[in-house]
């Protein structure tokens, strides 16, 4: 124990890789908590396997361990660091479960570590269904009638008692994984089978349905003196039935009377007090819209996605305060960090309305089941702040980046009323838009109320947006309507569309009439006290309260918007590095972002935070009022890059690589011409506009070919086609989605894929490191396992890569970051693509190579050359240790998505394995990614014909190493012919037990399945993969991954753990 009886050294457990249900919010919470603990003089040891986070930067904690979040590794770290406290409630469900395991297995007691804050008893009472039910009964708090079941028969029996529909919630799973609503008995059987398999304790709760009730959440905090507050309440626009993570949410509640509000608030406080939580807690309620009776749905005794949202919605830093409460400090002795003067024991008062809309991955997964239910499917979310609900809704919609800037989806215009009615009744990600579309067609509020059960108030506000559209269309150029529309959150672009004018004309008109945005502060207290929070949102009001200081040089950093597949937390991490570098350079840093989960939208990270959509209009207004010296677009992913040319045209300086340089890399024709000029090779290919041309080009190049639409993000809709039939099928699908859009047809080279992140200043180029992908080219780089330093290339190739990068950077006139992907095939180096921006690999490379590329690039963009920064051009010295990045998928959350790797990116997150030894690093990476394969595994092989020859040596090795092999008929025959013993498993439906039953029954430890073309769910391969991932059986679809995994399987694990600080003598980014 150190100062004032506080712990001396505290272990903080992070949440690991980003998966659906556990995203960037824990980076935000963890980073804030570490800083909060250090403010109190506590030494912080952090463990998290996710390298793409700010929290794992060596500057955030005293000791940072990027090790697998598994008890055996944690025990090693505890033994090595000897912390006296452990903070379990900041790392999401993963961190919480791990802490409970460590406590229960006696590890903590053995090493004298005390759990801080909320204790295991409280955690278990909130998390264990039975214990929670008992507590609620004891408190007299109403909960839905339910039964915990461990078999399908029990569940069905209970449902017969309470009637359908019933809800199934598996115990101890993330984001409700494996749960669902069952409308009838057959569906219930299916959902229960899945839920029981996914629950680590094989338990599900079957529950009476309160579908259609209002869903309301409270974020509550309590300290050891039993002082408790609610930081925020939130009301879901979607009534109970849609997972709260998939719901559109407003904060604070809008349709609750004071009585409703206080009834639920008092219940939330009774619950947190009874649990004895010391820190933050989330309580979810269902509230009957007519009778006013309520049910407690769920309690999370930790910081959560909702608490991150509540922090951003109110300005009150829940994680920061929760960390201090866990140390034993109390609310009454802490100050509100926003005002600096008033007490932390208070409840924020909002004078604006916040809307959160989830961001779903269905644009990437055409086959996915888009319906929303009790299993969360969103990968990210956006938040918007407005003085009215209407303004907040419209700002949130524009923040989503789904190809619309208004409450309107083009694809719905062509749908019939019946289709839209169905969409409103059975919600999917488009419901809000479907409701608006039906209103445009004159459908009445009451009808929509019946269909959706959404509160009339919300429906009326949507109707008012639609009514204003109509008025605008009827009176082009009307200034008072323009004013009203801007106050309601309409973008210039949609007004222009309704008036058949250009957005710039609308802007000019409103500027002539003084209709300009004003910026208001988020201050936790509705202006009651003076606050200096540099946290603002736009509105159209009388007073602006964000004066721009004179005589300071300001630089704007664009964030990356909502987390989605292909644009994840990595970009936020890089953007935060850029903010830090600006501060370091003595400049005023300004951040614009719309993502409430992230570190970049923590108002302490920049000199000024604008919580705004990343639309052109929104960014332009801020850039102009702030009179910025320039905008950094290279850190905000494709979101920011896409704004570069319009900002530049508007006369706003882009710092670093200019718009032309970005276009030269993204535009196929320009890029080809450049490569030719630079004498760099690339796979043969052409851009075509129709199917016939595509087939002709493919015939010339030779199959296999890689096809994709131009201007892609995360390899969206990209495929490898092995023959004309497959290509034909692809073209039919792709052309349907994007008629008239160019399609790229490329030669597919099954070589070694390599990747670099570099910084160029116009004269010199620094290559931060060369990473090698384990999977051969064809698997999207974001889904590949990456190894640094690249083990498979010689000095000659290394030099060639550096030279090619140098030439490319100079040719593209890059000023700042450049990511290049190569393929080495038969001794030749080919350029696949170049991205003049921060890449997905950047945070990973910065951490393992110890090279602060983001900060260096920021300096370059500001005009300081590499040499002026004292940096030697060329390849940054290779590290003596190995860092391996392994992708992590959220297969189980996404129904009907094919669990296979290909050129289209599908992973949601990543982990790091770092070790002095390659094989140890690889083992750690697999362990951290959740692949648990025993030493003598039972491996099921189902291999496409073209891969059969290649799989034979692998199978033989496996067999010799003691694995038991299973195969479907063709694969088994091929293996037997090669002398490998294998058990044949019947194909689906052939004989009982068939292959799916074998997987379900737990007979298989690993599935190796290579992909056959054609993505219909009826195909056997699809069903095999889905069954595996839904039952938690690792499924590998690349032979390269399988080889890597099985190659290290039999090796002994050294279990050595080391802090990042130990790997480097010098300072890190």
């Amino acid at each position: 124990m150190g100062r004032q009886g506080l712990p001396r050294k505290v272990l903080v457990i992070g949440s690991g890789p980003i998966v659906i249900g556990q995203a960037a919010e824990f980076d935000y919470a963890g980073t804030q908590a570490c800083q909060s603990l250090r403010e109190e003089g506590v030494e912080v040891v952090l463990v998290n396997s996710n390298p793409a986070t700010i929290m794992t930067d060596p500057g955030i904690a005293d000791r940072v361990y990027l090790e697998p979040l598994l008890p055996e590794y944690l025990e090693r770290i505890i033994a090595r660091e000897r912390p006296d406290g452990l903070l379990p409630t900041l790392g999401g469900q993963v961190g919480l479960n791990l802490a409970v395991q460590l406590e229960e297995s006696g590890v903590l007691a053995r090493h004298g570590v005390r759990l801080l804050g909320t204790g295991v008893a409280a955690i278990k009472r909130a998390e264990d269904r039975e214990a929670f039910r008992a507590l609620m009964l004891e408190l007299g708090e109403p909960i839905p009638r339910s039964r915990t079941v461990e078999s399908i028969a029990d569940g069905v029996g209970f449902a017969r008692e309470v009637g359908y529909p019933v809800i199934v919630r598996p115990a101890y799973t993330l984001g409700g994984t494996g749960g669902g609503i069952a409308p009838d008995e057959s569906e219930l059987e299916a959902v229960l089978a899945r839920g029981l398999a996914l629950s680590p304790i094989h338990q599900c709760l079957v529950e009476e349905s309160i579908q259609g009730w209002k869903e309301v959440e409270y974020e509550v905090m309590r300290d050891r003196l039993d002082q408790a507050i609610t930081v925020c309440n939130m009301e879901n626009i979607d009534p109970v039935g849609v997972h709260t993570g998939d719901s559109i949410v407003v904060a604070p509640s809008l349709t609750l009377t004071d009585r409703d509000y206080q009834v639920l608030r008092s219940a939330a406080l009774r619950i947190i007090r009874a649990l004895g939580v010391e820190g933050g807690c989330n309580v979810q309620f269902g509230l009957h819209p007519v009778t006013g009776e309520y049910r407690v749905i769920e309690v999370n005794p930790r910081v959560s996605r909702s608490s991150a949202l509540a922090s951003k919605a109110t300005g009150y830093p829940i994680a920061k305060i929760a960390a201090k409460l866990a140390l034993g400090l109390t609310l009454d002795e802490l100050r509100n960090p926003v005002t600096g003067r008033t007490s932390a024991l208070f409840e924020p008062a909002l004078d604006y309305v916040v809307v959160k809309i989830p961001r779903w991955p269905f644009d990437k997964f055409a086959q996915a089941d888009r319906r929303l239910g009790t299993q969360m499917q969103a990968t990210g979310e956006v938040m918007a702040i407005g003085r009215t609900l209407r303004a907040a809704i419209l700002k949130a919609v524009r923040s989503l980046e789904i190809g619309t800037y208004h409450l309107q989806l083009k694809e719905l215009k062509g749908k019939s009323d019946e289709e839209l009615t169905a969409l409103s009744q059975t919600p999917d990600d488009r419901r809000l838009f479907a409701v608006a579309e039906l209103m445009r067609r004159g459908h009445a509020i009451e009808e929509l109320r019946r269909l959706t059960e959404i509160d009339r108030h919300f429906l009326r506000e949507i109707a008012r947006i639609v009514a204003l559209e109509r008025e605008l269309a009827a009176r082009p150029g009307d200034v008072e309507l323009l004013r009203a529309a801007k106050r309601d959150g309409f973008s210039d672009r949609v007004i222009a569309e309704l008036w058949a004018r250009e957005a710039a004309d609308v802007r000019r008109l409103r500027q002539e009439h003084g209709i300009v945005p004003t910026y208001k502060m988020v201050d936790t207290c509705a202006a009651e006290f003076d606050a200096e929070t540099p946290y603002y949102y736009s509105t159209y009001e009388m007073e602006d309260e964000a004066p721009v200081p004179e005589g300071e040089r300001s630089v704007l950093v664009l964030g990356s918007g909502p987390i989605r597949i292909g644009q994840g937390i990595e970009f936020d991490c890089s953007a935060v590095h850029a903010l830090g570098a600006l501060r370091g350079a003595g400049l005023r840093s300004i951040m614009i972002n719309s993502n409430p989960e992230t570190v970049s939208t923590d108002w302490t990270q920049s000199d000024r935070l604008y919580f705004e959509p990343l639309g052109f209009e929104d960014v332009q207004e801020i850039a102009e009022r702030e009179r910025v010296a320039g905008v950094l677009v290279q850190f905000g992913g494709q979101t920011a890059i896409n704004l570069a040319s319009s900002l530049q045209e508007a006369g706003i300086p882009i710092l670093g690589t200019q718009a032309q340089g970005i276009d030269a890399a993204e535009d196929r024709r320009q890029f080809d011409a450049l490569l030719q000029r630079l004498d760099l090779r690339r796979p043969r290919g052409e851009t075509v506009l129709d199917a016939d041309a595509a087939l002709k080009v493919a015939g010339e190049i030779g199959y296999p070919v890689l096809v994709r639409p131009s201007f892609v993000l995360g390899g969206r809709a990209m495929e490898i086609c092995y023959g004309p039939d497959e290509l034909g099928e692809y073209l039919e699908r792709a052309a349907g989605a994007m008629p008239g859009r160019p399609i790229l047809v490329d030669q597919y080279l099954p070589g070694l894929e390599l990747e670099v992140d570099a910084v160029a200043d116009g004269e010199d180029v620094l290559v931060g490191g060369i990473m090698q992908h384990i999977e051969r080219a064809g698997v999207h780089s974001g889904d590949s396992i990456a190894v640094y330093p690249a083990p498979g290339i010689d000095g000659r190739m290394e030099a060639e890569i550096c030279e090619a990068t140098r030439r490319l950077a100079l040719g593209l006139e890059t000023r700042g970051l450049l990511n290049v992907q190569f393929v080495a095939y038969e001794g030749q180096l080919y350029v696949i693509e170049a991205n003049p921006r921060a890449s997905r690999t950047l945070p990973y490379l910065m951490k393992v190579a110890g090279v602060p590329l983001a900060a260096i690039a920021t300096q370059v963009a500001l005009g300081r050359s590499l040499r002026q920064q004292g940096i030697t051009p060329g390849l940054w010295p290779k590290s003596p240790h190995v860092g391996i990045k392994c992708p992590v998928f959220s297969w189980a959350k996404l129904r009907r998505v094919d669990a296979t790797l290909g050129p289209e990116m599908k992973s949601t997150g990543e982990v790091l394995g770092i070790d002095p030894e390659f094989s140890q690093a690889l083992m750690k990476a697999f362990a951290a990614a959740g692949y648990r394969v025993p030493e003598r595994p039972r491996v099921l092989l189902t291999i496409a014909d073209r891969d059969k020859e290649e799989v034979l040596p692998l199978a033989a090795d496996l067999y010799r190493a003691g694995a038991r092999l299973y195969g479907t008929r063709g694969t088994a025959a091929a293996l037997r012919a090669a002398g490998v013993e294998v058990e044949e498993v019947p194909k689906i439906g052939e004989a009982a037990p068939d292959i799916l039953e074998r997987i379900r029954s737990g007979d298989i430890d690993l599935v190796v399945n290579t992909f056959t073309q054609g993505r219909s769910p009826q195909r056997d391969g699809f069903q095999i993969r889905r069954t595996a991932v839904e039952h938690g059986v690792p499924c590998v679809t690349s032979l390269d991954t399988a080889q890597a995994m099985l190659g290290v399987m039999a090796k002994p694990r050294s279990m050595e753990v080391r802090a990042l600080q130990d790997y480097f003598a010098a300072d890190l980014p």
Binding site: L225, D226, Q227, I229, P252, S253, L254, T255, L256, T257, D258, R259, Y261, Q262, R265, S266, L269, P289, V290, T291, G292, L331, D332, R341, T342, S343, L345, F346, E347, P348, A349, L350, D351, Y352, V353, R387, T388, L389, D455, R456, H457, R460, K520, C525, A526, A527, E528, F529, D530, E541, M542, E543, E545
Partner: protein, 354 residues
């Protein structure tokens, strides 16, 4: 469904003008105050402590859940005017009997909407509360407000609120009381007798009261010496609980002083600490004046609770008698319910069957 609105302004004493859209009468004058409570505009509109005041709601969306007559603090609106950012006329709630617009219109209370209420609040916070006028145009003089508000708000004749049961009789001395005080005393088992502020103490005696609650109410307590004197007489005879204005009058009656806060405490999120290791709590508050702590020296009153933001007095105790008072509103309405126990404890302390 939208009531006609006309362009109008709120003009402040210091000349600042805030434009908006008006429903209801014009040329209405009052002290302009803001409340940060996010819910309960109906309760606020009927809280007599707001008598004579034009209330600015800092929460922007007002009117969504209509008005529920079962949850008001008085049958009719008591405030002088309401200023909001976004007025929602169509209620959406099962308990709503009518919209906020007809409710205030019937009572002749103007609603000024579409106002930049945040700018207005920032101004009041910096410049202090002041008089203002809701008018069609700026330019009229803004006179100071009247102080005879208690008699306007309080009952002219004493009456029984509830007589059933065998619980102790509690007399509530009405300075402009909130109905929630009566409802909760009743819920705590008391028989409740409401006493007019000008009634002789014999009425309290005659009702057989075991204890007295000095209610909340509007206005500057320093201008009500007769009520302060009465508060002391009550406290000298009965176990007494003072609430808000009642608390201030008690302090004045025993020789303390009050002062005007720069912009008051109005909201549902005010932290109060008891000290002595007892947990602090979040309370509902609505007051523009406070008891000066240093003025209590030499009186029989001691401070039991303080505001955690500015340290002002939030609770008092008599050193020799069962007399207590709180500056905040234990009955809530609107606001958090943590302090409701104060009323229950008071009733319990009066003993069982009379």
């Amino acid at each position: 469904m939208r009531t006609d609105r006309v362009s109008a302004v709120l003009e402040l004493e210091d000349g600042r003008i805030f434009p908006g859209s008006l429903i209801g009468p014009t040329d209405v004058v009052g002290e302009v105050v803001f409340t940060t409570a996010m819910t309960g505009y109906g309760e606020i509109a009927t809280d007599a402590s707001y008598a004579g005041q034009i209330v600015v709601m800092t929460f922007p969306e007002i009117g969504v859940y209509g008005v529920d007559p079962g949850n008001l603090e008085a049958a009719r609106p008591t405030l002088r005017g309401l200023v909001v950012r976004s007025l929602q006329e169509e209620p959406s709630h099962a308990t709503s009997q009518l919209g906020i617009v007809p409710f205030l219109q019937e009572a002749g209370v103007p609603i000024l909407s579409d106002v930049d209420t945040r700018a207005l609040t920032r101004h009041l916070r910096k410049a202090g509360t002041m008089a203002g006028r809701i008018a069609l145009a700026a330019g009229g003089a803004v006179p100071a407000t009247s102080c005879q508000l208690v008699r306007e708000m309080a009952t002219p004749r004493s009456y029984w609120f509830s007589r059933e049961g065998d619980g102790p009789v509690v007399a509530v001395l009405d300075f402009g009381l909130k109905s929630d005080i009566l409802r909760q005393l009743q819920a705590a088992g008391a028989r409740v007798f409401v006493v007019s502020p000008d009634a002789p103490l014999a009425e309290i005696e005659g009702a057989g009261a075991r204890g007295v609650v000095l209610s909340n109410g509007p206005g500057d307590p320093a201008l009500m010496p007769e009520f302060a004197e009465k508060a002391r007489q009550v406290a000298d005879h009965w176990p007494t609980l003072g609430i808000c204005l009642g608390h201030q009058l008690l302090a004045l009656g025993y020789g303390g002083k009050t002062f005007k806060l720069p912009f008051g405490h109005r909201g549902a999120n005010h932290p109060v600490g008891h000290g002595e290791g007892r947990p602090g709590e979040v309370t509902s508050q609505n007051h523009g004046y406070a008891v000066a702590e240093e003025s209590l020296l030499g009186t029989p009153l001691v401070v039991t609770e303080r505001h955690l933001n500015d340290g002002t007095v939030e609770g008092l105790r008599h050193t020799g008698r069962p007399v207590f008072s709180v500056q905040y509103h234990p009955e809530a309405g609107p606001g958090p319910w943590e302090a409701r126990d104060t009323l229950r404890r008071f009733v319990a302390s009066l003993g069982g069957v009379a």
